[in-house]
Symmetry: C2
Subunit: 406 residues, 2 copies
Amino acid sequence: MIDFSSVKKASKSLSLATKEQKNLALKNVANALIENALLIERENEKDLEIAKANGLKESMIARLTLKKAQIEAIASDILKVIELDDPVGEVLEDFVSRDGLKIKKVRVPLGVIGVIYEARPNVTVDVSSLCIKTGNACVLKGGKEAVNTNKILVQIIKGAISSVISQDAVMLLEDRTAADELLKAKGYVDLIIPRGSKNLINHVVENATVPVIETGAGVCHTYVEKSADFEMAIKIIDNAKTSKPAVCNALETVIIDRAIAKEFCPIIEKFANLKGVKIHADSDALNYISGDFIDESGYSIEYNSLEMSVKIVDDIDGALEHISTHSTKHSECIISTDKAKIDKFLSSIDSACVYANASTRFSDGGCFGMGAEIGISTQKLHARGPMGLKEITSYKYVIEGNGETR
Amino acid sequence: MIDFSSVKKASKSLSLATKEQKNLALKNVANALIENALLIERENEKDLEIAKANGLKESMIARLTLKKAQIEAIASDILKVIELDDPVGEVLEDFVSRDGLKIKKVRVPLGVIGVIYEARPNVTVDVSSLCIKTGNACVLKGGKEAVNTNKILVQIIKGAISSVISQDAVMLLEDRTAADELLKAKGYVDLIIPRGSKNLINHVVENATVPVIETGAGVCHTYVEKSADFEMAIKIIDNAKTSKPAVCNALETVIIDRAIAKEFCPIIEKFANLKGVKIHADSDALNYISGDFIDESGYSIEYNSLEMSVKIVDDIDGALEHISTHSTKHSECIISTDKAKIDKFLSSIDSACVYANASTRFSDGGCFGMGAEIGISTQKLHARGPMGLKEITSYKYVIEGNGETR
């Protein structure tokens, strides 16, 4: 049995820490990472050797690697977090009730946040710093591929914060059993954020009794409406699909109005050939474009690579229907010059981010001006879309009276 | 297998309904309830007969009863909901991003809200009207004691709304198996709110894969700090304990500083004798006051009746510690004239509503100016404390560009 009482206790004192204390703790972490860069590289080497021996994919190994440059980048991200406004203590509402009570709605930390993630060890530092900044303690469960790297990172973080705040404010879990205990740690943990594969997220949702925010599943659509500017359309599709195919805000499906399919599909095909993008399509779409056959269920696949689906629809209602069926409610876009169609799309689509004439790749805390991001929520409760500092806080009502009774 | 696809479909069109359409649907419901009062009373009689035959408690039967007066009160509550501002469509943020995108954060309905509740059939109408007002469809699972009443109420609601919005926007589930399917209806239901006993809430939390907001568990504390005005203290304790003992914002435990215990406990005893309040206390507190013995675990009991616990502490840290251990994070109060102690209490207590010198009975959507309430959240995610119309909405980002790529 894992004991979560010390992280809970640490969250209480951390919730009362001043902005200056939290920023000092973060400054110490940034410095300690730089000072211990060699140590981190050495531990990271162990993980890399195991990964190579296990035949891990090149892209996974790249994500796992921490050299001096990456460590400096991580430390510099912490300095950026220090510069952000501390949302804790913000007065969201302030009023006198009908009974004469002075009521304030005040932003407070959530408490203890559990984050379960895969390979990338920079997440260990990112999550720790965002949580410390917002007065939240955190419980981290990283991927087993990064176990040595995560251990040394958390050891360095704990040492660096301990002169200012409790080192128990950051806790690392080391095995899968521990993660399953985290999911049931009601009363100790206030929120769990799973970041990673669909399987990981489903496992968390199925088993957690602690509240969960689902993140990152992104079957994102771009709909080319018949009035679209083709040049703009292909520029946006290219960017949304190829600029970073592995991320959740990348495009997975292009939907095209039948009226322009004959004209626009060859343009798509040309782009796909040029950029090495593989096309999947149902039998209807294969009349307009060449590609691999998929049935209806194929349109729910998140490729996360240089592959995409193409769907032909009769009109905007067909596009809305297709998106409603296959979307993970992350980000969708309409490309159109018809204001009525754009307005209909923007109001009807039930996703975190709905675009007209821009790449879905902008669904990102940085692009939205949040300064940092702990994940992108695809559920509707609490936070939707990119989650920055405010999104990992809660609030409480502080009520001052003078003997009032009801 | 229950089919939730029609309620999901109805939620989509309801989410696009205008304020006028939603208010017209509500007006129709209010009228239909008045017109069908006799029919409702007749069905309610069936439930009452079964309840009496089963020996249900007087208080439960009172809560189950719907006569003309109650039906009129319910209809008049709907008229009040009509008068409230429609939160849907509110622009929460509106800015131009660093990339030149026009980004709006817009309030939208949550989608489909499931509510699982016990005995009181007025909840059936209250929840339906709050959901319709906010563009949410709802799935209702009422108590089996009210099955006939709930059936006729939902039948009347469906008939009344059907000329304006889809009658599928309100769905009634009739048995426990159906409720368990509701808990797993991910992709169809966006939120489940359990209202009722601790057992009911725990069952929902343990089994739901749909996000849950826990409500209503209220072990509320009032702490009499040594500088307190005794007259104010007893007035607040009396109100918090006896004005409506069955509700979640009622007082369960009085905490008293040891320095004033000898002087204040006789005052508490006198009040308790006068108002018929039974006192529970641990062996330490029994040195100061007479009552039934409880051990530490007894302080976690929510009596919901004319019973209360008394705890003696050495100082404010002892009070904070006791509350941290036993509170359900609903509402707590300090009675004090010492500003430093008050500030410490208000900032340290991690509950939805923290009071200085006022009755915890004010933790209520009406008292907080929300106009209506769907429950009182005791968790920190999404909504905390009284939940009004805004608290059953979400938001989405609407982004307009002109061909921007990242």
